[in-house]
């Protein structure tokens, strides 16, 4: 007597990416400090933060390039340490550095990578042809990459990263160093690629406008810690005021900041020397009151701008405005590569 045992395939994990208390320290310096978040399937997830905040280290841990000091993370249920090889099969990675081979053609670069993923010859040919069409590089397929512009190279890298049809796509500052036209093209292309595929995208960028328009959710990381995580709309609503007035004065009397804080509709005032950023619920009303107060106190206004709250304001609100020119851990540990781009 035989009995057939039917075992149903395990249900897909609830989240595409799960990060739980992930930490990476280099000696005494912790680049990533107990970071936790999840990314849903099909989401475009932005990782924002100042230079040295730990974004790239997070990406490198999630893409198995760097081992975490503690904590855990899983990509489609595969642990990034114990199941590293399954993770590598499931992800496509576009690192900060342009890693295409300059001496090889676009086709050769993609073909070599397709071979590294063990894609059979016939499928390889079809996939490469389709991807090169999608990134608009078909006519340059046989040209050496050293003849490509920065934007073309980045598009090639994106196509190369998708050659094995990954589920999760990691992009570490994909538009840094590109001109505005190339930037727009890269993002339009990414949006189109995502719509055609069941793709989860995790991206780091310094361009807030990009993150605002393209990311479903954004995590702001500073000093290796998560300081905010939500949709761009919710994040903008989370900081005081609907408008931001940036104003500078020629000279100010004592107690000037307190006077600004007392103006109608003002939610918050931050001072940087003679420049003040005033978050307000009503930009025009506060501006009129501000000009009256300046005239009365005989204070000259040297510049003034009123704008709606942007992700830039969110970023500055959560991370502050000070420059991050601090020394970090020895670069060889975090990144031994010193000749980037």
């Amino acid at each position: 007597m035989t009995s057939a045992v039917h075992t149903a395939p395990p249900p897909p994990p609830e989240f595409a990416v799960e990060v739980d208390n992930l930490t990476k320290c280099f000696g005494d310096f912790c680049a990533v400090d107990n970071l936790s978040f999840t990314v849903k399937h099909g989401e475009v997830f932005g990782l924002l933060g100042p230079n040295g905040a730990g974004k790239s280290t997070v990406i490198r841990m999630l893409t198995t390039l760097v081992l975490p000091t503690s904590g855990r993370a899983a990509i489609i249920g595969h642990d990034i340490v114990r199941g590293a090889n399954d993770v590598r099969q499931a992800i496509g990675v576009i690192p900060q550095a342009m890693t295409s081979d300059m001496d090889l053609s676009a086709w050769e670069n993609m073909n070599i990578f397709a071979k590294l993923y063990g894609i059979p010859r016939e499928k390889r040919r079809k996939v490469i042809k389709r991807l090169l069409e999608e990134v608009d590089l078909t006519q340059w397929a046989d040209k050496p990459v050293k003849m490509f512009s920065g934007g073309m190279r980045r598009r090639l890298e994106i196509a190369r990263g998708l050659v094995h049809e990954p589920k999760i796509f990691f992009l570490d500052e994909p538009t840094t160093g590109l001109d505005p036209v190339s930037r727009v093209m890269v993002w339009e292309m990414l949006t189109a690629l995502k719509q055609e595929r069941d793709l989860t995208i995790i991206v780091t960028t310094h361009y807030m406008d990009e993150a605002d328009s393209l990311c479903d959710r954004i995590a702001i990381v500073d000093h290796g810690k998560l300081v905010a995580l939500d949709s761009p709309l919710t994040l903008k609503a989370s900081i005081p005021g609907k408008n931001v007035i940036e104003v500078s004065f020629a000279g100010i009397p004592d107690g000037w900041q307190q006077l600004l804080e007392s103006l109608p509709e003002v939610a918050e005032v931050k001072a940087e020397g003679l420049v003040f950023r005033i978050a307000t619920h009503n930009g025009p009303k506060t501006t009129v009151a501000l000009m009256d107060a300046a005239r009365e106190a005989e204070v000259s206004v040297t510049s003034l701008s009123v704008q709606s709250t942007t992700l830039d304001d969110v970023f500055v609100h959560y991370t502050g405005r000070q420059l991050r020119d601090t020394l970090q851990a020895p670069s060889a540990k975090e990144s031994p590569f010193i000749m980037r781009r």
């Binding site: 198995t64 590598r88 992800i91 081979d101 001496d103 070599i112 590294l116 031994p336 590569f337």
Partner: protein, 375 residues
């Protein structure tokens, strides 16, 4: 599993060889240096010493002294080992010797002829500038030979009990350029390994190309084998070109002998694998592109000169013989000398091949232990 692994290793090798085909300049340059060295060193060290300046002070002026001087002049005119200049003032001659105008001074003393005729152990003096040992040795040898001829005027006894040495040379005369060729081939393989396995490897790492590899399913084994085989193939090409071209330049008889070239291919392959795995071991934890460039000269000196490539190992001090013993160059050079200069088979260089194989295995094992599959 194994099939997938072979595919991935093949992809790494394919990438490297395609780049090599597109941009072969660096590798071609790597062959130029050993070739230039072969020609320059081969002819610089291999020639006979000629035209050494010798001053002659004759304080005797009688017939035997004049006969002796005539012999010197005849040798000077024919063999051209030395040129003679006569001095009447010994002090002036010594001053010229000290300031380098002449290389040696031959003094025929006043009583020379009388002592020759009386059979009273006549002597002449050769005062040498011994700061140049090569020239002074050549002069001493030439004058000793000349005086032997001068003294040998008497008929030898019909039955002699003197022991004579007959020297039989097994191989045809080997000029220095041919002696240098085995070292040059090894050097070409080393330079190729240094550029392919050192400089380009670290440059690729610095440019982030390896980062691209590390996010793919390549295993540690795939990466190490792929990098090493790709480097070894390029080194074999360099070695073969040098072995063939160098044999022609150095005047090796029948330089394109297929059987010998085939044997050399085996030794070139063993040498390439040993040197590329040594290079990989040295570079496995390096990330600064300046390092391979900085150690290139040091490695070249430490490996090339103690190997017996330019001078016999037997002349080395004990501490240098320790380097010689563990230096893979030594075994490669010895093997190439056997194949090229003695035209032996592979059996004759079995111990060299065995050492190179063991060296490869140990270096690869150590590099594998040190290799990190993360950044």
């Amino acid at each position: 599993m194994l099939k997938n692994s072979l595919h991935r290793i093949g992809a790494i090798i394919e990438r490297d060889l395609r780049r090599f085909r597109r941009s072969p300049t660096l590798m071609i340059v790597s062959m130029v240096m050993p070739l230039v060295q072969l020609v320059i060193l081969g002819y610089a060290f291999g020639g006979k010493i000629k035209h050494v300046e010798v001053g002659v002070v004759d304080q005797d002026h009688r017939v035997p002294a004049i006969q002796l001087k005539e012999m010197f002049n005849a040798v000077a005119a024919n063999a051209q080992t030395f040129d003679t200049t006569s001095y009447s003032d010994e002090g002036k001659a010594l001053a010229d010797l000290r300031n380098g105008s002449i290389n040696a001074l031959l003094v025929i003393p006043p009583e020379f002829s009388r002592k020759v005729q009386a059979g009273m152990n006549p002597r002449i003096a050769l005062v040498e500038d011994n700061t140049d040992q090569f020239s002074s040795s050549a002069l001493s040898a030439s004058f000793t030979e000349l005086l032997t001829a001068y003294n040998g005027k008497a008929l030898p006894p019909r039955i002699s009990n003197a022991v004579n040495l007959s020297v039989v040379e097994v191989y045809p005369y080997v000029p220095y350029i041919q002696y240098l060729l085995p070292g040059t081939i090894t050097l070409a393989i080393f330079v190729s390994a240094m550029i392919g396995g050192g400089i380009i490897f670290i440059d690729d790492k610095a440019r982030g190309l390896h980062e691209g590899y590390l996010t793919t399913p390549l295993t540690k084994f795939d990466l190490i084998l792929g990098f090493n085989l790709a480097g070894a193939i390029k080194a074999v090409l360099s070695g073969l070109v040098l072995a063939t071209l160098g044999s022609v330049i150095a005047g090796i008889p029948d330089p394109l002998n297929a059987l010998r070239l085939l044997r050399m291919l085996v030794l070139v392959a063993f040498t390439a694998l040993a040197l590329i795995s040594m290079m990989f071991l040295i570079m496995v934890r390096v990330s600064d592109p300046l390092v391979p460039r900085a150690i290139f000269g040091v490695l070249n000196t430490v490996l090339f000169f103690p190997s017996g490539a330019v001078y016999p190992i037997n002349a080395f001090p004990p501490w240098m013989k320790v380097i010689t013993t563990i230096d893979p160059f030594t075994y490669a050079v010895h093997g190439f000398k056997s194949l090229i200069l003695k035209n032996t088979g592979l059996m004759a260089i079995g111990s060299d091949l065995l050492f190179l194989a063991l060296f490869t295995f140990i270096a690869m094992a150590a590099a594998t232990m040190l290799f990190k599959r993360t950044l």
